[in-house]
Amino acid sequence: MPTQTDYAKAVQVLHAGGVEFIIVGGVAAILHGLGYTTYDLDVVYSRSRDNILRLVETLSGYQPYLRGAPAGLPFRFDARTVRNGLNFTLSTSFGDLDLLGEVAGVGGYRELLPHSKEVEAFGVRCRRANLDRLIQMKRAAGRPKDLEVLGQLQALLEERRKFPDISPQDPK
């Protein structure tokens, strides 16, 4: 059975720790209006030295561990590990968290930042990737399992264009 991720807690923890991150993937799609289920939170994080330190310090109290790896590995989620790696699929005490240093076709935090927007969600102000970029990311990933979601995302894009005033609380 998939882990029950506490999405609000995950976003609030990262926000409270001052971590620079952008929500992408399924949760970002949901924040745009998709009706969808997802079991983890995907975020693109800034690879700046300061941000890596903040990220490590923030998550240190939540038992970050490599998701699906056997227990007991000498894994340490520290600044060196993050600097030496790039993308991490973690399990934490608040659920499953994917930390992405780069996303296929889009790049890293710096490249995605102009294509993201700050919104109020999960009780805090956080950044969400724009709908256009989400579609491009999903397409660039080239996974057959994303095709259904891509259909929904394109339909969502069409609906927003067809009814430009439908989201007064979330203007484009």
Partner: protein
């Protein structure tokens, strides 16, 4: 016997062109096949909500999904 279609000879311009990412609304027949089954009434209802309301709805929905999964798992183990 000659080939029906001669192989494409890449031109220097083709090789140097950076095609970048296709626009989000680029036509793809496979994605289109999925798109025709999308229930747009749900999308329109969700679009009327704020991102905060969407996040609350999602959290509540996922709680229900997990409750159902737990019930199903218990029933299987009976």
């Amino acid at each position: 016997m000659s080939e029906p279609y001669p192989p494409h000879q890449p031109q220097p311009d083709d090789l140097n062109e950076d095609v970048g990412l296709a626009p989000a609304d680029a036509y793809d027949p496979v994605i289109n096949a999925y798109k025709k089954d999308v229930d747009r009434t749900i999308l329109r209802e969700n679009l009327k909500l704020s991102p905060q309301e969407r996040s609350e709805k999602f959290v509540s929905f996922m709680k229900s999904v997990h409750q159902l999964m737990e019930i199903a798992a218990r029933e299987r183990n009976r």
